[in-house]
Amino acid sequence: MPAHPNPNQDELAELALKRVVASGAEYGDVRLLDSTTQTIRGEDRRIASIQDMQDRGFGIRVLYHGAWGFAASSVLSLEEAPRVAELAIEIAKGSASLVIEKVKLADEPVHRDRIVTARRIDPFAVALDKKTALLLETMEYVHRQAGIVRSSASLWARRDRKLFVSTEGSRLEFDLLAVNGDFDATAVHDGRFASRSFNTPHLRMGYELIEDANFLAEAPRIASQAVEKVKAPTTEPGLYDLVLDPEHLSLTMHESCGHPSELDRALGYEANYAGTSFLTTEQRGTFRYGSPHVNLVADNREPETLAATGYDDDGVACQQWDIVRDGIFVGYCTNREVALKIGETRSRGSNRADSWGSVPIVRIANIGLEPGAATLDELLADVKRGIYIEGHGSYSIDQRRYNFQFGGDAFWLIENGKRTYMVRDVIYHGITPEFWGSCDGVADRSHRRRYGFITCGKGQPGQSGWMTHAASHARFRNVNVIEGRSGS
């Protein structure tokens, strides 16, 4: 068996950075990451798998003559560090041979800090049998409802211990946690099937998130609504007013506001995969993205949210800024490389990698919809014929983020200001600025909820981005609801 003693992480980082500095590179950084992920997955009243995965390694990023190189390895040894550093330098030199516009980095103060996620209960210290018992009992509760044929339930926890060291002198240590739990119920009726889900948000906190979620109290409701959903009537296609709950809105915001506000997309970096953006740079400050009710704020400083890690993987401090103010598009998510390209002097601190083996790229920040002044009842009261939507369902959007189509997890018809009975197969379609332009009310702060994403796909090789989107309920007028099946 190959012997690779784990060296002191500072010694390894120093060894690597020395090589980078000696090469004449203008910038370099080293990220060492030790991740532990525990996933417990239940399916149909059994625990299908329990996995405890450790993922350790380091990545070295080099900027040489205005071009990037990156190399990474899971072999944590003092022999491997200089090999990987030399490889990153050599790759950067290759990139430099095709440079047209040299990469420059926006200035950032040198930071030396340690970030630790606050937690009441360490999720890795909670007894495994307590967790499996919770999932089994939850699924039992779900199956007590007549008509339920399938169930699933899972718990997930991740701990990231990271060291970031740069040639500029920054040294940042992280000890970060994230936790999530969910379950769902699937019912069949008359040759159809339908599912209803319950999710805690992914948040940076301890196991208290799961304990406070009270799965057992929620399970009968979820199961009952799955049965109601599968038996519910379909909706007639047409124009409806929509009242969207915070969980549903988190996905709508993510796809139609979050991604187009990534500056690397607007500049063409993602043209071959995730796509570009209709929010082109000349429109910043003037383009009407939505109605005056729409204020979308990026806040990577809000405690417990996924992107609130203190600093990003450029070593830039987390910040708060406006994306859309009074309906006008005003700001992008940026990193140290792209910020300068639109005349900004500092990065917004949104450069993140999903592992030690990935290079950081611009990611969506914790973008949230600012609360308004209404109550949910007031939003509903002014709807003659509409649909109230909860949770996530089908979602698809074009590569410039104009044309989208969303479903949901549960739908209720609104008639004469009241939420009435469930309907099924609701799909709504829109063009992003028209849709947000139809927003005429947002509920107050007491309705605000947060939902986290850990599977936001972007980049080649593909990476998963983490961020949280918060919102209160919001109302949209005259949205095009289409038939949720393809016809004959």
Binding site: L98, V149, Y269, N272, Y402, N403, S486
Partner: protein
Amino acid sequence: MSTTGHKTWPKLTSRDEFQFIAEQVLKRSTGDHTLVALHDQHSGTTRFANNQIVQNVDTRRGSLRVTVAFGRRHGTAGTTDFTAGAVQETVTRATQIAHLSPDDPEYLPPVEPQPYLTLPTTRAETAAAGPARRLEYTNEAIGQCRMENLCAAGIVSSSIATVGVAASTGLFAHEERTDARFSLTVQAGEATGWGAAAHRSIDHLRVQERTLTAIDKAKRGLEVREMPPGRYTVILEPAAVAGLWSSLLWTLDAKSYEKGTSAFSGKLGQPIVDKRLTLRNLPAHEDLLGIGFTADGLPTMASDWIVEGVLKQLAYDRFTAKVRGIDQIPTLDAPCLSGSGASLPGLQELIKSTERAILVTNFWYIRTVNPTDLTLTGMTRDGTFLVENGAIVSAVKNFRFHESPLRAFNRIEAFTNQAEAITSETGKFLVPAMTLRDFNFSSVTRF
């Protein structure tokens, strides 16, 4: 830099080394059953946009995964650290999890030793390729675009992995797998054109040919017209066909079928698509990315999934297969869709034979809208054109589709011989290009 045999590439875990690691794991485990899986990969990607490199990465990641079972209680632990102490600690963690796990009524011990086909999963030229080879192809694609005053964005990637699985039953499998990929989006102002390839051999990416195709599409998109939503005859290029079939194949799992939560429930043995279509798994085909064995250590095999339009097979997990008395579980790692009867040689002949249709290069963001009837939605992307009287007459603004492949592939007008197809959202297929009538485009976007 040399273009082959990059000097700093590390050595991956060999068969003998994996055998040694597996022996250590099995010796140290106290479980009734133990399974150890290896995935050790060295990969690199050169990514470019705006005609220059924006990322250039090289990663070596080795991982071990150990599953220990006592009776029907099982636990899994993994590590990227191959030192003796870390491997021991991984076995201990898996053991502790197994002890604390409840009985899993669907647990099955690891499979017995299996016979495996020796497949062409590795190619020396890809294994030897490094950053310089990727740079060479990148330069070629960017250079072609610069000459046309167009803008290139894309990737060139190559990787080699050693993959293994061993178990206390005596099961042992190990193989090398190489993979090379190229994809390119050419931008001509608002217009885009696209091409992509994936192959075991980096020599087989046909970078120049695919670059010229993407350039041609982008240039044809300079003048674009808007067509109204509605039902159209469509010509789907192989990548677009693969996108729809990928969504279909994902939903063939047998457990959902048995529980009545599958779009295919009750349709095994029934016609589901046009009777001229047959879907086979061909792991030995050199243009597909077949593998020798699955993560469970089961051998892959050539198998029939849809024969003359009739659904013949489902994707079985081991437990459902056992309940159903299925001894050999067919795999779907190398899908090949073919048409019987009169086919045209290629896409150009299909276009020439068409009176009026929308030509679709690729689909994007395909998602299920209704799992009961497998209604899907998605957008056309990077080359959507109006064909009239056998020729492309203009580009058209991109459409959103709202359609079930179970309906669409019963409306086939014509098809070509099979061609290689890969997209950023699918695995690799061999599929024909096809003309389908009455394909439902439900809306149009602004470009």
